[in-house]
Structures are given as C-alpha cells and as structure tokens.
Point group: none
Chain length 428, copies 2
C-alpha cells in the first residue's frame, strides 16, 4: 500500500463541488455559520460517511469523521483543515486539507485496510476569522483555548458569534464540550497549500513544514492636524497621512534587512478621509512574523522607534498597541520526520519550510504534537480568486500525507507514542 492509490479524479471533483458552496460570483466566499458553510458541511458529512467514517459535529460546529483502528480505545490520529474562506478567496485554502484527509481514509477503506490507531478527519468551522475577526475558532475550541469573550465577537452586521452559532443550531454555552482530552489524541497532521512562493522557487510539489512563525499584530495611530487642503502651505502642515506613508516605507525597509522577518501594513484608514481636507489622523495595522522570536521582537522595536522619530520630526504623535502576540511554534520532530520519509520515498527533497501563516495546527499544538505538509500553489497566490494548485501537486501532496499517516498510525509507531505518555505537550 502506498500513496499512489489515491483517487485524484474524485478529489478534484470534490474540490469543485465545495467551490460551489460560495456567495457572490468572484472567487470563494464561505464565511463560518453561513448558508454556504452549511452546504459545505453537508457535502463533507456525506463524503466522510462514504469513506466509512462515523460522523459527528462538535459543539462549535467542527465536523469530525472517525475511522476506527484495530486497537479500540487507542488515541486517535487527527488529520484536518478548515472549510471557511476569506472574502473572495480561493478554492484550495483549507478545503484541500479536508478533502485530502477524507481521501486518505476512503483509500484505506477501499483497500480494506485498517491502521492500528483510529483516524479522525476534522473540518474546522472557522480558521480565517473573516467573519468575526478572530481566527482559529474551531481549533482553539478543540484545544481548550477559546475564551468566553470570543463568543461576543461581532460580524460586520453586529451579529455575535454566539448568535450565529444559535441560528446554526448550536448551543454556544456548550463550547467547552468541544475540548479534547490530550490523552485521546495521538497527533495532528495538516495538509495545506503553501500560500507563498517558496515551493515554486524550489520546483517541488510539496514539503514538510518546520514550524509556524511567531507573529505580532499591532494597531497604530498617527495623529496630526486636519485642515483645509487649499489654505495651508505645505511647510505649515501636520499631515498624518504623509507621516504614515514614511512609516509604511520604514516597515518595508526594516523587515527587508532581516532575512527571517516579514512585516506588513495591511490596513490603513484616513480621517476625515475627504479629498479637500489634509488628513488629521491615520489608523493602521502592523503584522510582523518570524520563525525566530527574537528577530520578530527586534524588528517590532526598531519599527516603533523609527515611527516615533518620523512622527516627532513632523509634529505628529504616534501610538502603537500590540493586540496579538504569539511565539513561533515548531512542528513535532516525530511528525516532520514521518513527512520527510514520505517525501524521500518518492524521490523528493526533504524540504523544511517555515509557515508564515497561522493554521489550525498552531492551535492544535497546545493539544498534541503537530505536523504539516505544504503543497505548491501557483505564484504563491492565496486568499484570492486566482489561487491555483495543479492537480498533479494535489495528488503528490495527498500521497505524501497518506504515507506519513500510515507510518504514524502503524502499530509500532503508535506503541512508541503511547510509551512516551505524552500529555498534550508538543515535543519538537
């Protein structure tokens, strides 16, 4: 038994069917707890059953299919990814990992194979945070990291997460019932599109993920003086946007000097924001990531110092508030090794790529050992209607996933894992 036996045609058909569960005509828009996500959940439940799994939905709306192993009561090996999308995103982000997980189980079932450990395939309900602006809802709930206040997050129509869950038939007060016992879990492996240009540059269909970069997300505000665009000479202005523009370029310059760091100003709002008024204030977001926590912290510090210097020189004020900060999360050495062996088996380089994006694996790492497989996507484009993965890369990635899962759920490996008596800790 090896990964070549997967049914690529079925996978591509399923990806196309999921893509139909979308709002609007441009790209994929499938927000959590929407009519479109219900449509996707229904498809996934049907496919899981077809693959021989017992299906349930946990209290947060994660769809979970379980394929029993030969040793009843043994901890389950988890494979998963998410079904929600960003607004006008692509059809592979998240969906590919769910379809690949189901395909693996269905392949085993069709070959009459049953691994030692049970396998669970999880379709997480909300990873992107596009609706409630708070990411990894499904996996954080499962890992016991969701907080009651998350239920109060509101979407752009003012609907809270709790209200959205209720109208989806879920009971938000039961959210803690989604938490998994670490003892019942033997690891988590996620296949996901790379969403970056590295595999394309390396000319390889897929690779192992070494870990998930640490990230800081900040909100900054530059304050100057709003005044009439026609009456104030250039030399007497305190233009908040001109100051913010210098800061945006400083972010680019500072991150560009540090090889492991990326930094982005993704949002910028100008007040009052009319054509004939000199901007009085600008608010923006700053996102800094690195696999090296010290580098990330150093970059953020330098950016803030430089922004303050720029603002002082222009008679502006600068404030910056860190709203999220997460340390880098390395993948488990055991899982990385299993992926690398699967790569080697088909003559691929043992590439280890850091993930700059957060994934459900990030939250799952506080529950169990995690690993990830990245699949090449064209031009590194994701979160966009042009997102594209070549079918042959889908096939190669899923075959590598199958081989790694076979290794990780086989009797001997499972035994090793159980003997270590890992209690939810992620051991890199």
């Amino acid at each position: 038994m090896s990964g070549d036996k997967i049914n690529l045609e079925r996978m591509m058909h399923r990806l196309n069917q999921l893509a139909l569960c979308s709002r609007g005509s441009r790209g994929i828009t499938r927000l959590s707890f929407s009519r479109e996500s219900e449509c996707a959940n229904r498809l996934v439940r049907d496919w899981m059953r077809e693959a021989g799994m017992v299906v349930r939905m946990d209290p947060l709306g994660n769809v979970i299919g379980r394929y029993e192993g030969r040793r009843p009561g043994a901890p389950a090996f988890l494979i998963g990814s998410h079904l929600d999308s960003v607004i006008e995103g692509g059809k592979y982000d998240g969906a590919l990992g769910v379809v690949a997980g189901i395909e693996i189980v269905q392949t085993l079932r069709e070959r009459g194979l049953r691994p030692d450990l049970p396998i669970e395939v999880i379709a997480f309900c909300d990873e992107e945070g596009a609706r409630f602006h708070t990411t990894l809802l499904g996996s954080r709930a499962m890992a016991g990291m969701l907080r009651e206040e998350d239920l109060c997050a509101r979407d752009s129509d003012g609907i809270t997460l709790a209200e959205a869950m209720r109208s989806f038939g879920l009971d938000p007060s039961r959210y803690t019932d989604a938490v998994r016992d670490p003892q019942s879990v033997a690891g988590y492996l996620e296949l996901h599109i790379e969403q970056g240009p590295v595999l394309e540059r390396e000319d390889q269909a897929c690779g192992a993920v070494s870990g998930i970069a640490g990230a800081a997300r900040c909100r900054f505000r530059v304050e100057g003086r709003a005044s009439h665009a026609g009456t104030v000479p250039m030399s007497l202005r305190r233009d908040a946007l001109a100051g913010a523009a210098e800061i945006v370029l400083a972010v680019e310059r500072i991150a560009g000097r540090m090889p492991s760091v990326v930094a982005t100003v993704g949002q910028l709002r100008v007040f009052p924001g009319t054509s004939n008024v000199i901007p009085g204030a600008v608010e923006g977001t700053l996102d800094v990531r690195s696999m090296e926590d010290e580098q990330r912290q150093a970059a953020l510090k330098e950016i803030c110092e430089e922004a303050e210097r720029i603002s002082r020189r222009r008679g502006l004020s600068f404030t910056c508030r860190t709203v999220m900060e997460a340390a880098a999360t390395p993948c488990s050495a055991r899982l990385v090794q299993a992926v690398e062996e699967a790569l080697a088996k088909r003559g691929l380089k043992p590439l280890r790529i850091p993930s700059g994006a957060g994934h459900d694996a990030l939250a799952m790492a506080s529950l169990t050992e995690v690993g990830m497989i990245f699949v090449r996507c064209r031009n590194g484009i994701s979160h966009h209607p042009d997102e594209y993965v070549a079918p042959e890369d889908v096939g190669t990635g899923t075959a590598v996933l199958l081989d790694a899962v076979l290794e990780l759920t086989a009797a001997e490996t499972a035994e090793k894992f159980l003997n270590k008596a890992v209690k939810g800790a992620n051991t890199p």
Copy 2:
C-alpha cells in the same frame, strides 16, 4: 464716518444666535433646506429688516436684503456669504460674512447715511455642498451657472435638491429666476474667515484676497498583487500600499518645491484592507491648487510622472483620472485696491493672500467684479468645532469691510464703474 462705529457686541450676539440654529451637540451642523437653515434664515431676515433693508428670498432660497442708495435704479453693490455649514463645522465659516454685511448696513442706517449705490446683503443658501455634495448652489444660481442636472443631486437620504427645495416652500422649476442681470450689479465683496494659517503667521487681523486658486481634483489607483502577509518574502512582494506611500511622499515633495502650489492626498483606501493580507490595490484622491494655472498643471504632470516611475520600479500599475479642474480666479483690482486702502487707513499691512478654498465669490466672479477680505482664525482651523475668531478681529475685519464698501458705493467711484460699462466681466 469710519469703521470704528460698528457695534461689535451686537455682532457677537448675532453670531451666537446663529450658532444655536444647529443640529447635534458637536460644533455647527446647518445643512441647506433644513429646519436649522430655516431658523437661521428667519433670524437673518429679522436683522436685515432691523437694519433698514427690504428683504426677499430668491427662487433658490438665498435671502437678500436691499438698502436703497441715493441714486434710484443704480446697480447694487453686493455683500454676502453663506449660512449653511459642513457637518460639525464652526460658527464663523459663512455666518461671519453675513452678520458683517448686515452690521455695515445697520451702522450706515443708524448714522443716517445712505451711499450713492444701493447695497444688497446676501445670505447664500448652500456653499459647502455638505448636503448634496455639489458646492456653491446659491451663488451659482445667482450667477446663472446652475444647471438643471444640479436639481437632481441627492443627499444621503436620497432626497433630491428639487424635493428639498419644494419641502422648503420653493419652486425648483423657477431656479433660473434667481439669475441676476450683470447690469444691475456693481460688484461683490465677501468677508470670510481665512481657514488657513497665513494671517496668524503675519500677525494681522485681516487682509485682502488676491484671488481664488485654481484646482484640480483627481482619483488615482495603484494596483499590485494581494497575497498573504505571512508567506511572501519582502523581496517577492508587489505591495500596492508601499507604492502608494512613496507616491504620497512624492506629492508632498513636489508641491513643497513650488511656492504657489499645495497638493494633498486626502483619502486613501486599501484593498482588501485586512491586517494579514499584503495590499493588492490602493485608491486615493489628489487635490492640487495654485493661483498660477501653469504651476498647477506642471505640478500635476510631475506628480503623475513620478508616480508612474515609482510604480514601474515596484511592478505596480498606476492610473490617475482628473475629475474636476478649475482655473484660478483673480479678484478685481478695483476691489482689492479698495480693501488695501481700508487696511492702510487703520495702519495694517496691505497683505494680499491667495484663497486656496472656493467661496461664493468664485461663482459670483462670472457675474461681476469680486473682492474678498479674510479674517484671521485661530490656528487656521476651520470646518471643525474648534474654529475660533477673536472678537477684536471680527471688529477689525468688519471695519475694513465698511470702509471698503463706503469707498466702492460713493458717488465718484460708482460713476467710474458705470462709465466703464462693465458687462459682468471680471476685470482684474
């Protein structure tokens, strides 16, 4: 008789009373054809009658008070400004010019003086365009520049100008009856707050306006490639916001090198505008003004060329569309001279300030010769609740206005004007 005789206490009281005709609690909000503007019109009509004027409202809702001169049938000298405000604006913008015009006539009346030419004080109904997003409605109607399509402009509730006029008791179909015969008019002088910092820097209460700057208003778009903020190395990005930031700084630099030019990016919108996505597109507005049309055109050309260079270097595309362009409008030499003489009479410097902002005088210039007096406002702040003019500056500005009007409506001056047989042309 000289300007000292004006009643400053009465003026300040009237400004305070007008300030009560406002919606909301922050600053002044007095949109055209609203309950608040009706309240202001009523006050102004009462004060005009008290000042000895015959009052009428023209078909567009401009309130006009007429104080007859000694020579019946002679063309009228006009003094005016507007009664509408922006949303949450200040209490002097527009209102000061109306109150000053009334004060001058009332001062003449109280001294038993009657100039050779009749004087008309006009309170324009809509200069700011805050309600219908189309400026100078009242003065454009009077100058014959209002077009039928302007009546279809809608406010944010979808109410058209024609509907708003009807519910205000006006007949929109009669809008052309507001047009004045140029032969019946001997000039237009407007006192207005500066809305800029020049007088404050010059340490003087008021000055003559040399003209109203020409303006170009453009919309530009920078297009790059949206991608995930965590996965694309800095060197492989095509960040539209980083490009737009360079363009904002180029606008500042190019305008800063040309003494007569100001240029402003007042609005900037980032797409998709989320913290974890590298901006794929940015849209902004560019406002360029100058008293010298050639300088304005040269600045705009240089900005666009530089923006294209920046975009090319970064692999971005840049497009720019001019949505409005207006030539500079110089004030009449005769009126500027009268104001300068009035300044000199009270020991003030003969300052000539270009107006970067549009005013009713801009529309009136296509009807008759125009002049303006600017009054210092604190920190140059306007269109804001903090707008403030010191009472002594109100007094000085109104005294200068009175002296200039006395000169411009006296027998000899009027004779000179009539002999020139000017037909609505503005002769600088």
